[in-house]
Symmetry: C3
Subunit: 343 residues, 3 copies
């Protein structure tokens, strides 16, 4: 619970109305009741304010709603997220290594960390302060995990990989699986040992069942603040810059280097050994087959400017008709030419 005044301080916002209003929960505008705070970031929902029973509403500057308690923020969506975090935060009282956890003698777990029953930690693993490791998680030998991390059930971090601070692994995320490297030996394939590691920098989040392969030699690296959705594939020796967003079922093939602040839509793919610049947005199911310069919004396979792709894909259903028309044009032209010859 918090007063509106406390929340205004938290988000550095301004109050219009009663600052002593007590807030228990954050709720969507159509479900909010007394004790709830809600938010309007999209102006089209402003008319809903009239019938809304929320005790307070987070809005952008300039909104008129004389009957409501308003919490005014220049970024209402971010303010909503921060308030939600504040009201949710259970102090994660470190429980240490719980009964049923399997921890090697040489592992070092910070006393304020929590290792749940059924988690397995290998030799020389190090776990930082306030980190929580859920049941069923497996950390191989020599893994290093920073502080304030959250490793969900069944996540795996293989030997020698390193996680920064505030890293989140969703359930069944796999960090450090072998890169997919084989040397042809006649018709057969000889496995190339993958002896590198994976480094996840601070504030990285990896989605459920997403896989980040270890490097063949050297390291695969995911930059600070980058977020991977579920079922994403990152090949060996890939480097992803800071503050990137990779949506579900996307993939980056081996050795490609991605700049910072890129966003790749669902099922989008980057072929191997490519360079992608900064601030590149690739639409859902887009596919990069060559290098990509910075500051572009692209879609399609091959990639093209997003607006061009929208036009091009609208033409595809008309292709059979276009083909027929072209044959008609040809026929008419044949006839005209014949007629000209006659004359």
């Amino acid at each position: 619970m918090a007063t509106l005044r406390q929340l205004a301080e938290l988000i550095e916002g301004r109050i219009q109305g009663n600052a002593d209003t007590e807030i228990l929960r954050v709720m969507p505008i159509d479900q909010a009741r007394v004790g709830d705070i809600t938010f309007v970031s999209n102006p089209k929902y402003l008319p809903l304010l009239k019938s809304c029973q929320a005790s307070a509403v987070i809005v952008a500057p300039g909104v008129e709603a004389p009957d409501s308690n308003l919490l005014i923020s220049t970024n209402p969506y971010l303010a909503f997220a921060k308030i939600l975090t504040f009201l949710q935060a259970a102090s994660p009282s470190g429980k240490g290594v719980m009964a049923g956890a399997l921890v090697a003698d040489s592992a070092e777990v910070h006393p304020s960390a929590t290792v749940c029953p059924g988690a397995c930690l290998g030799e020389r693993v190090r776990v930082g302060a306030d980190t929580i490791i859920h049941s069923g998680t497996v950390l191989y030998d020599d893994v290093v995990v920073g502080r304030d991390c959250l490793l969900h059930a069944q996540s795996v971090v293989r030997e020698g990989c390193r996680l920064g601070n505030r890293v989140i692994l969703q359930p069944s995320a796999v960090i450090g699986s072998d890169g997919f490297g084989f040397a042809p030996d006649g018709e057969r394939y000889y496995k190339i040992p993958q002896v590198g590691i994976v480094v996840l920098e601070d504030d990285v989040e990896i989605g459920a069942c997403s896989c980040v392969d270890r490097a063949a030699l050297g390291e695969t690296r995911i930059g600070r603040g980058t977020k991977l959705d579920n079922l994403v594939q990152i090949g060996h020796n890939v480097v992803v810059g800071e503050d990137c967003i990779i949506v579900a079922q996307g993939g980056i093939a081996g050795s490609s280097k991605i700049g910072k602040h890129c966003t790749f839509g669902g099922q989008a793919a980057i072929a191997g050994h490519l360079k992608v610049g900064d601030n590149v947005m690739i639409g859902g199911r887009g596919g990069a087959t060559g290098d990509v310069a910075s500051n572009q919004v692209l879609s399609g396979l091959p990639l093209m400017p997003h607006k061009q792709w929208l036009r091009a894909t609208m033409t595809i259903p008309k292709l059979p008709e276009m083909r027929k028309e072209m044959q008609q044009l040809k026929k008419r032209l044949d006839e005209l030419e014949a007629l000209m010859k006659e004359n």
Copy 2:
């Protein structure tokens, strides 16, 4: 083992031949021997009946096979499935909480349920009658699982999510991972806590390594009888109706609402915040980028009627040739126009 008479009662079918024939197994028509029952649902396989050694054959009405014991059903494929289930059914003698299972004191497990070694159940978890929870499965605090469920190894159900009756989770299915929600804060991203849950209604099946994200607020819901194949992604706040089929590697982005009795082919995708009606079929790798009305068979990206898509994609390999032809037409037209001017 069962007699043909028992099986006929089970499927409400009719026997032509010896009702006392004993049946041990169900086998495909080309491998069936004495003691086996087989089935023919596709008429093109009827000629195989002559050489088939099965003790009995499930067929549709109207099939002539005077030398075989026939079990006649209006739906032979369904009859086959029911007989296979009947002959397979091992009475799942509830073993309770087995040694090596890690179950919180406040969890309530029905005495007829089975919790295998290495499974982890959190605080206040409830597990219904005859449910089987395999090794390595993790149920977070406050999870509710109905009766007759089957949760395979390494599946994860996160805090507060609810499973109905007869729900099946294949290995490594993830229920209740965080939705992919971040509020931009300059170039960085601030994580929006995902405080909702997932509800899987009765008779839902979730494939191996498929992920159903918990809602940001409220719930993500999969309707009664819906089946997800492997490696499927369901975003936060999605609602899928009853009796849908989502084939492997498909994905539904956040907040989309799907009607009932829809079928989405492999790798098909639905963008976020869309509405899809009832009885919609989308072909493999189709992609919905806008709302979809009920009762349609669609394919492609953008979606178009499936038959139109078949024609359009057949044109794609001919595009370079079409382009060349068009340039030739243009040239011929230029020449004709010049000729006309001269005259």
Copy 3:
């Protein structure tokens, strides 16, 4: 550590320089220092040899580098892989069933095998010599695992499935999940029991979070030496031949039969009930919707020869322009025809 002489014997190569040079590690050409061996398989990197500090370099015959110790091989990339394997190989001293592993009494584990803490082995499981089973892995009843296998954390092998020798499962690989089979019963779906198994032949590798479904009846089979990358889906009753490569996020739908020595790129898909011949290469995101004859390089959906696909996809961005041009041609033709009529 090894001398250059030992490494030359290992790869059956030839030395030019000092055979007693001591080698500790394999490193990429731009990071190699004294004590390292590096390799040049791509001639464009040969100029880097001059400034390289490596103690020796693996090269193809014909390379001139008088100041370097050369290890000459007709297949430098394969030689590199073999040397890396040799230098990495830690003798995997079998640790038997370790404390914290949960192994059924009827399971038979070879004394030279290793079963790590937290691994679960069901009834009658058999594990061969020198096989390593990592923490959190679950083998259901009646699973058979050969010798020299490596089963990583959280991998699952369901009941009755069989793994040959030298099989590798990356973390969270799922072998033997139920095939996706349902019989329509009105609007509802009735689950068809999946009572077959999966067979992984010798030298198969399965990537992280990849799924190989058990057969409905009979078996799903992955041929000797075939390698699956991460997040790959193999449907029930599929047969994949020997020495195939299936790159990440690809999928093969139920009952399709793939020949030997095929390579499928990332996100490529094969529809169900198809036959694909030997030595077929399908490019990234290609999709087979019909049978495919042997010895072809194909791409696209529908599949076409790869070179044709490259040309066709280059035309797609130009479609709106083509359409406009065609309308202009039509207009010009209309005018010409009108003009002809007048004359």
